[in-house]
């Protein structure tokens, strides 16, 4: 299956791209996606151990099982207002 991963602000600066599509085994979790990303090395390896994540526009836990077509956003510390 394929999931879209999105990177914002400091994470986008780190990985050098706002969006990357990743192929994963069916049923892989956010944690597994994160491990795969880190395995790409360079900026990806510098993502934090446990970043906040949103799946399909909602905050989600790292044990969340993903599905084909999911949009997974890595949310750096927020600073609205």
């Amino acid at each position: 299956m394929n999931v879209r991963t999105l990177f914002f602000a400091t994470y986008r600066d780190l990985v050098g791209a706002p969006e990357v599509t990743i192929e994963l085994d069916d049923g892989a979790t956010v944690a597994e996606l994160l491990a795969r990303l880190r395995g790409r090395g360079e900026g990806f390896a510098s993502l934090p151990e446990h970043p906040a994540v949103a799946v399909n526009l909602e905050y989600a836990r790292h044990d969340r099982a993903l599905r084909d077509g999911d949009e997974v956003a890595f949310i750096p510390p927020v600073a609205g207002g």
Partner: protein, 145 residues
Amino acid sequence: MHTAITTEPIDPAAVLDGLAAPEDGAVLLFVGVVRDHADERPVRGMRYEAYVPMAERELRSIGEEAVRRAGSDRLVIVHRIGELGIGEVSVAIAVATPHRAEAYETSRWIIEAIKRRLPVWKHEHYTDGGSAWVEGTDPSLQGAS
């Protein structure tokens, strides 16, 4: 209740227009403004970025919880994104309630929820030419993940 993420300038007075119902005795308007310094460093402007579809959804969810807390649906939250100069409005929160306690408590709860949860980031431009992302709050530290 009305919530929005907008790229247009926010007119705080317009946010109050027609907000209060006849049963309301208190209206509270909070306006967040870009200020000319961060800690001691002079700032000349700020870029606000958002994960727009998620920010719209989170802001609506904050609004819905605020309506429950306030016991009032007379509530507007508008957050601006894009390039803002000093003195420009980044966020306006208006709440009308029968009694003042609910207005103060709800307004404060909303701005704290925005700072805790809303997927928005600030890139400060300093007058010395430098720029940096503003250090934020990790949403996962509030039990969001």
